[in-house]
Symmetry: C2
Subunit: 411 residues, 2 copies
C-alpha cells in the first residue's frame, strides 16, 4: 500500500523516485497524486513528502492533489531555452537537474515511472544522468517497486474497484437485454429496419452505457464471435452480424473516468441456443472456474492456480501452455492478473510471477480460465475479479450469472 | 505526410525508427499502423517497409493493419527468460537486439517513439544501446521528425478531423440546449427536483453525448465558471453550480474512439445575461479572433500570429506574454497549436515554433485568443480549428455561433 512506500524504497535500495507525465491515464501519477488535469513531474526522496511540479496554468488542478507543489515556471523556461540555444532537449535536461537538486537527489539511485512519450524522456533522462555523475535512473521492468506497493489495496481502493464492478455488470445486463430483445431473421439478429445488428453497433451501446455511468473503456472491449472468440485478444470485427448459436466472448474492462481504477469481467454467451460442442467447452471451463475458486487460499502463490488450471484442463483432454508452451489451441494464457489502476498489474499468475505474487489480504485479482479452438469457430472464457479482504476472505467483487445461453425474447 | 517519411529519415540522418506500445491511444503507433487492439513494436529501416511485432494472441488485430507482422512468440520468450535467469529486463533487452538485427538495424541512429511506460523502456533501451556498439537511440524532444511528417494532413486525415468537428459542435449544441432548458432559482440553474445542476453533471452529459457519436474525451473537458474560467487549464470544479451571468469557458477536445484524430473547440458563454465587464472582455477577444483569421496567409510562419495577437491585445490595454513573459493575467498563452492524432502537435505558434511551423497546405491548427482575470472572476477564450486546404484556402472545420450570451428559455 501507499503507506509502505518508504519501506519499499529502502528494501529496493532506491534513494527516491521520479514520476513524469499527466495526472490522468497515467497509473503511477494517479497513484501518488490522486490524479487531475495537469502534466508535470513528481519527485520523492526517500523519507520525505513528494513534491509535484506543474505549470502555472495548471496550478489549481495540481493544488487539488493536496501535495506540496512547485511551479515549473519558477525555473524560467524561456530563459533556459535561450541559454540552451533554442534546444528544447537541453533546456529540459537543465530543468530536471535543478528539480532533482532541489529535492536532494543530485546523486543516488532514482526509480523512474510514468506513462508518457518515450522518445523525448529517454533522451532527457540519458542526458541528465550523463550530466550528474553519481545519479542513476532505473526503470524497472516486470515487477516494479511501485507495482509491489499497488499489489495490495486498502478499503478505499477496493471500494473504487467494487463500484466499477457494479457499473460493469449493470452494463453487461443492459447488453444482454438489448441483444435478446432483437428480432431474428435467418439466424441473424436484425434491427427494426430489418438490417443486421453489428458488433460495432453493440460496442457503441456499451460505450454509451458506460459513459452514462461515469466510466470509460480506454482499451476498448472484446466482443468477439465465432472464430474471433477463439483468439483470446481479438476484439471482434465491427461489421460482423450476431448469429444465433455462435459463442460470443464478451470481455469488458472499463475504468473510472479519467483513467482511475479498472474492473475486469468476461462472460461467454450463445444467443438463442448452443451447439453440443459449445456446451461441452463451456462446461469444461465452468468446472475449472468453480474448482479453482473453491481452492483459493489466502497468502497462496497465485501461480499455483495457473499450474492447477493446466492440470485440470489437461485432465479434461485439452492442450495447455504447461504441456506445450507454444500451443495455439486449448488453454493458452494465464489464469489471471491483478487489477487496479492498471488493467493488468501484480499479482501475476503466469511466467512473470515472483515470490511476492501471492493472494495476500488486499490483493485484487482475476480468475479467468478459457479454452480456444479458432478453427472450430469456438472460444469460451469466464472471468470474475476477486478481492482478498483484510480477514483473508475472498470476495467476488460483482455478481452476475454465468449462463452460456441467452434465450431470445422473440422465442 | 506519411509518404515523406523516408525523405525525412534521410534529412534528419536517421537510419530507422522504433515505435513501442499499444495500437490505441498512442499517436505514433496509430500514425504508422492505423491503430488496433495490440501492443508491440514497429521497426522501420530507412527505405524499407515497417515490420510490426506482436504477440500471438493479437495476431489477427495486428494483421488488420496490412503491415508485414512478426510474432514476438517466435523469439521464444520463455526460453529467453530462462537464459536471463528470470530477469524480465534482460530478456527484453535480448529480444530487442534480435528484432533490430532482423531489421538490419544493429548499428546506426534510430529514432524512438511511442506513448508507453517510461521506466522499463528507459532501462531496456539504455541496455540495448550498451550491448550494441554503433547503435544509437535518439528520442527527440520538441520538434520530432514524426511530428514534422504529421504536420501536414492529407484529405483523408482532414476528413477524420472534420467529422470530429461535426461531432464536437453537435455535442456543444446539445449542451447549450440542455443548459438553457433548465429552470432558475436565485440565479442558479436547478433541476426538476429543485437541486442545483452541477458542472459534474454537465460533464457526464458531455461524455454520454460524445460516446453516443462514437467519440471519447481521454483528456477530459474544460467547463470552468467564474474564477476558474480565468485560469486557462482549470477544468472546472465538479460540484460547482451554474450561476447566471458568470463567464463559462467551455473547451472541448474529443477524439475518435480508441484514440484517433482530435478536434479542438472553445466557446465562452454567459447564461441569461452578461455583465458589462464580461461583454467588454468578450468583445476584445472576438475582435482579435476576427482580425487574426482575416490576416491568415498560406505558408506564413504561425508564430507571426502569436506576435500579432499580443500586439492587438496590448493595443486594447491588456498585459500579454510579449510585454511580460511571466504575467498571470491578460493574454497568457499562445494563439494556437496543430491538431491531429495529438491534441497538441505541430505546427507550434509559441516559443517552441521553428522554421517549419508554417501554415502550409495540409496544416490543421487552432486560433484561440483568450483573456484571463481570475481575481475578477473572468475568463474568455474563443477557438476554432482550421485546415489549410491543398489550394491554400483556410477552412474552419466546423461552424458554430460565437455568441457570448445564451438566453434562458424560462426567460
Amino acid at each position: 500500500m501507499k503507506t509502505d512506500l518508504d519501506t519499499l524504497l529502502q528494501s529496493y535500495a532506491f534513494d527516491g523516485l521520479l514520476v513524469v507525465g499527466a495526472g490522468d491515464h497515467n497509473p503511477a501519477m494517479m497513484y501518488l497524486t490522486g490524479g487531475g488535469h495537469f502534466t508535470g513531474e513528481l519527485i520523492k526522496k526517500r523519507g520525505e513528502k513528494p513534491l509535484l511540479f506543474c505549470r502555472m496554468m495548471e496550478r489549481d488542478e495540481a493544488a487539488k492533489t493536496g501535495l506540496p507543489t512547485k511551479l515549473i515556471d519558477d525555473y524560467k523556461p524561456v530563459e533556459l531555452l535561450k541559454q540552451a540555444g533554442g534546444n528544447v532537449l537541453k533546456a529540459s535536461v537543465r530543468r530536471y537537474q535543478m528539480m532533482l537538486d532541489e529535492c536532494g537527489l543530485s546523486t543516488g539511485r532514482v526509480a523512474v515511472y510514468g506513462r508518457t512519450e518515450l522518445g523525448s524522456m529517454f533522451s532527457v533522462l540519458s542526458q541528465v544522468q550523463a550530466a550528474m555523475p553519481g545519479l542513476i535512473f532505473e526503470g524497472e521492468a516486470g515487477n516494479t517497486m511501485l507495482m509491489e506497493a499497488q499489489l495490495t489495496k486498502d478499503a478505499s481502493e477496493a471500494a473504487h474497484i467494487r463500484k466499477m464492478g457494479q457499473i460493469t455488470t449493470a452494463v453487461v445486463g443492459q447488453v444482454a437485454e438489448f441483444l435478446t430483445s432483437h428480432k431474428v431473421k435467418g439466424k441473424v439478429l436484425v434491427k427494426p429496419d430489418g438490417q443486421p445488428l453489428t458488433i460495432g453497433e453493440v460496442k457503441n451501446r456499451i460505450n454509451l452505457w458506460l459513459a452514462e455511468r461515469g466510466a470509460e473503456n480506454p482499451q476498448g472491449t472484446i466482443f468477439a464471435i465465432g472464430r474471433d472468440a477463439g483468439v483470446p485478444h481479438s476484439s471482434g470485427n465491427p461489421t460482423d452480424p450476431l448469429r444465433l448459436g455462435k459463442t460470443i466472448v464478451f470481455d469488458i474492462y472499463p475504468c473510472e473516468e479519467g483513467g482511475g481504477y479498472f474492473y475486469d469481467f468476461t462472460r461467454t454467451w450463445c444467443l438463442g441456443y448452443a451447439t453440443d460442442e459449445a456446451i461441452k467447452l463451456y462446461e469444461d471451463v465452468l468446472v475449472v472456474y468453480n474448482q479453482i475458486t473453491s481452492e483459493l487460499k489466502v497468502n497462496a502463490p497465485y501461480k499455483t492456480y495457473q499450474q492447477r488450471t493446466c492440470e485440470l484442463f489437461e485432465g479434461l483432454g485439452h492442450p495447455t501452455v504447461k504441456s506445450n508452451p507454444e500451443t495455439q489451441v486449448g488453454y493458452i494464457h494465464s489464469v489471471g492478473h491483478g487489477v487496479g489502476l492498471n488493467i493488468h498489474e501484480r499479482p501475476w499468475s503466469g511466467m512473470s510471477a515472483g515470490d511476492a505474487d501471492r493472494l495476500v489480504p488486499g490483493a485484487v485479482f482475476t480468475i479467468e480460465p478459457g479454452l480456444y479452438y479458432p478453427d472450430r469457430g469456438l472460444g469460451v472464457r469466464l472471468e470474475n475479479t476477486v478481492w482478498v479482504d483484510p480477514d483473508g476472505g475472498f470476495e467476488i467483487m460483482a455478481d452476475y450469472p454465468m449462463d452460456l445461453i441467452l434465450p431470445m425474447k422473440s422465442g
